[in-house]
Symmetry: C2
Subunit: 171 residues, 2 copies
DNA sequence: ATTGATTACCTGTCTGAACAAGTAATTGAA
DNA sequence: TTCAATTACTTGTTCAGACAGGTAATCAAT
């Protein structure tokens, strides 16, 4: 699902959407928190996407780049582990980053099966931009929450994460 | 991104993943709450997906079905508005639900452009199952949170949603 | 040293989602 | 009445992500 009536366009449409932020989509009344997670996640992802768009990166790709910038050349497997991703997804994400010129591949000297992925020099221009985008994203997400409220929010999310982790790998 | 090292398989792997739930992926340290939202959303979606799998529905499709069961035949536009979705996505979601035999299309007698989407009688078998899945999803998400904590969680999520809504439609 | 896992990656297929372009039918004016 | 929006819906393309196979290279025993 999800699209949220285009970002801009006609100019009047967004207001109409924004007017019903807490609408109970009827059926989902049985799981208000699940539904809220859906909505927040969607909005958050959309925001990340629109902040990232000018850079040419798609949501998720920036995490790969951040890791490469931080830790230098990595094998695909390492990226998969760290980002808790999937081999197939990572293969294609890296192919796209490679096509876009942000990443380069080099055979791993110690293992002929593996390849080392490294950020290109050109990609360094992106780095500050991406970091700034993450700061913006966090700030827009938090709005005017006080430090104490931010702490509560983080704790709440971590609690949800703990529950989900517990109940995800077959309970 | 995201895959979370397969649901089951070797049997030992999940534990390794579960052991580092709050790992700071280095680069994302600049946006701890944004990152927590990512992780929670991913886990939540995965859980929803795995609960839904046996029914043959994919995440998102169940929301469409729930609405159709609740409100009866709807035009595509109405579904789009209510689920805050995208016309293109809805077109294809409905095509898939149609192929799966859960919905049927009928021309709108009052508007030749529109089609009415209605749940098939066969789909009714799914209804209780889906409602049960949503209860499970909510319960697994909430873990052992007290009522008060659940209220806090919901408020927190709604606060985040409000912030994101405000800052999403061009501020 | 040969054989049988395991590991590292890749490809294909299907899903939701975003975006861009369409095609009809309908509506609103001039 | 005609003609220019608007509306309802489709189609095409590109992402991430999940799942189901592959294919080499490496490792661990026998």
């Amino acid at each position: 699902m999800a699209a949220r009536s285009r970002t801009s366009r006609t100019g009047t449409a967004p207001a109409a959407t924004a007017a019903t932020p807490l609408r109970q989509p009827t059926a989902a009344a049985g799981g208000p928190i699940s539904h809220a997670i859906f909505r927040v996640a969607r909005l958050h992802r959309m925001l990340a996407g629109s902040l990232l768009r000018p850079t040419g990166l798609y949501p998720g790709q920036e995490l790969v780049m951040m890791h490469l910038w931080d830790r230098g050349a990595q094998r695909q497997t390492d990226l998969i582990k760290v980002l808790d991703s999937d081999a197939a997804t990572m293969t294609r994400t890296i192919q796209r980053l490679e096509r876009a010129g942000f990443v380069r591949r080099r055979p791993d000297p110690s293992d002929a099966r593996a390849a080392l992925i490294e950020p290109t020099p050109a990609s360094q221009h992106l780095r500050a931009e991406i970091e700034n985008i993450w700061r913006q994203l966090e700030s827009l997400t938090l709005g005017s929450l006080t430090d104490a409220q931010q702490q509560t929010t983080l704790s709440t999310l971590e609690e949800l994460e703990r529950n989900l982790l517990e109940n995800t790998s077959e309970p």
